[in-house]
């Protein structure tokens, strides 16, 4: 019963709160008990704010009883990746550099979520400074995958993915610079969206790479993800990249189906890059395409070459901007950074201004080439990750450069990309599918994801923790 409560979707929990068959305090206590019971194996939380959460839950219950409900997120326990600034609550970026830092302000997305009446359970583990691999030499343990704790959960929003899959919270925020929302969504069997660049404020989100960073939500269903995005999307003058465009109702067309939708698959020249996509992952992806076809969509094969090239530009921009942000710390105390993130970020110190500008020029060219495909198709479909989550014991940080990156192109182009579960390997590890739409058309991603979700039950599977 307790686990059933923890695994309610946000929409189900909101309905139960509305009918008063459950209270926010009960939801919060159920999450806290489950965190106590299982998070010692997973390490998804760095900081738990239990007392504050219970106080917020009591306040939510009082407001709901008084007819002052603020919508579907009111009273719902959520958690934040530990790079969202939270006033008076430790914000570490999973790093010794910020181990005991207490910010004096909140991130805009945290403020917006709080305004809807959510309950903050705490701050979630991640890859150090949202980069590199699992952080094994940071002051906090690396997050483990609830489907098999010997395996990585994907990153960098690893705690967000693991906590959702394990039923420790109902929604979470992550951030995505090269795949950091979508990879853990894929590896943990949950849903995550990297919205269009500029859709969600990055104010108060500790930067990795200003021009590639995206803030976004993660949840256990497509509809829940849409609800969370609704709360955090919109113009914020404090973020110079945040666009002043209208925010639609992300659930308005959720149930409209995908009859006649043209889905582009940029397979040729990309999926077989170097070591290529793992056969099990490609098989799950192909099965997912068949389901989308059975729902009325048309599959159109595209040239994947420009998608493949984006990684070079993405990585060049990323390491230059990341090093620029952290330069002073590297000059003063370089060994405070863990080895994985340190070696990757330092690459940026040895690239030239011309290298960086060349990458930004290539970004213009590749964006144009990739977006030209929207004349022929409505969305792209690509796998969430090139292979199933690796075991910690066999993680090779260099291997990621030998497989196609299915996430990088959409940071470089800023296109909205939704990742949701589309199958499991023989070893019972999740696979994800990404749907990518034109700029500011997140509603189309959600419509496809929802249609697929209704036709399958992957999102209903639960790990045994």
């Amino acid at each position: 019963m307790e686990n059933e409560l923890c695994y309610l979707s946000i929409t189900e929990a909101a309905a139960a709160l509305s009918k008063k068959t459950v209270s926010s305090v009960e939801l919060t206590e159920a999450c806290l008990r489950r965190i106590e019971a299982v998070d010692g194996q997973l390490h998804s939380f760095i900081t738990l704010t239990a007392d504050r959460a219970l106080a917020q839950a009591r306040q939510a219950d009082h407001e709901l009883r008084s007819g002052k409900g603020r919508g579907a997120l009111h009273g719902i326990p959520i958690a934040l990746k530990d790079l969202y600034l939270t006033k008076g609550i430790r914000t570490t970026c999973h790093s010794a550099v910020l181990e005991n830092w207490l910010p004096d302000r909140d991130a805009s997305a945290a403020i917006n979520l709080a305004a809807t009446g959510t309950v903050l359970l705490g701050k979630l583990g991640m890859h150090e400074f949202a980069f590199g691999g699992p952080s094994t030499d940071a002051p906090f343990p690396a997050v483990r995958n609830p489907w098999n704790t010997a395996h990585i959960p994907g990153g960098s929003s690893s705690g967000s993915g693991a906590a959702l899959a394990a039923g420790l919270c109902y929604g979470a925020l992550g951030s995505d610079t090269g795949g950091s929302i979508r990879t853990p969504a894929s590896h943990c069997g949950v849903v995550g969206i990297k919205p269009t660049y500029g859709r969600v404020s990055r104010y108060g989100v500790i930067p990795l790479s200003w021009s590639l960073d995206h803030a976004g939500p993660m949840a256990r269903s497509v509809e829940d993800c849409a609800l969370l995005l609704q709360a955090i999307a919109g113009h914020d003058p404090r973020d110079p990249a945040c666009t002043d465009v209208a925010v639609p109702d992300f659930r308005a067309t959720l149930k409209d189906g995908i009859q006649g939708l043209r889905i582009g698959v940029p397979r040729t020249g990309w999926f077989d890059e170097n070591l290529g996509i793992a056969p099990e992952t490609e098989a799950a992806f192909n099965e997912a395409l068949k389901i989308l076809e059975s729902l009325g969509a048309a599959i159109v094969e595209l040239d994947g070459t420009p998608f493949s090239v984006t990684r070079k530009a993405n990585q060049t921009i990323l390491v230059c901007e990341a090093y620029a942000y952290h330069e002073k710390t590297y000059q003063e105390t370089p060994l405070q950074f863990g080895a994985s993130v340190r070696r990757r970020m330092l690459e940026g110190a040895f690239l030239s201004a011309v290298d960086y500008i060349t990458a930004q020029r290539a970004r213009s060219v590749l964006n144009e080439q990739i977006c030209a495909n929207f004349a022929r198709v409505d969305v792209f479909a690509v796998p969430g990750a090139p292979r199933p989550p690796e075991a910690f014991a066999t993680v090779d940080p260099n291997e990621q450069n030998l497989r196609p990156s299915f996430t990088n192109p959409f940071n470089l182009t800023g296109l909205p990309a939704l990742c949701f579960p589309c199958g499991f390997t023989e070893g019972n590890l999740p696979s994800g599918l990404q749907i990518v739409a034109p700029p500011f058309e997140e509603v189309t991603c959600f419509r496809v994801g929802y249609a697929y979700e209704q036709a399958t039950d992957w999102h209903k599977r639960r790990p045994v923790v």
């Binding site: 070079k312 370089p334 330092l346 110190a349 690239l351 060349t358 020029r361 290539a362 060219v365």
Partner: protein, 65 residues
Amino acid sequence: MANEIAIEELRAFAQRIGLTLPDDELQRLLPGVIRAQKQAAELRALLSNSDEPAGIFIASKKNQR
């Protein structure tokens, strides 16, 4: 394309930009730096003279001090 950076050049460059890194750290760093420089160089083949960077400066009241 420029030649691959050697460890001595990496050490000298690191010192010039204010980085004090032990020799074993520089050795571990070298392959990543070579790869990063190589992939940045490869992007040049995509470009024509008319291609501008993705980020451009836009004058606005906010920029006036």
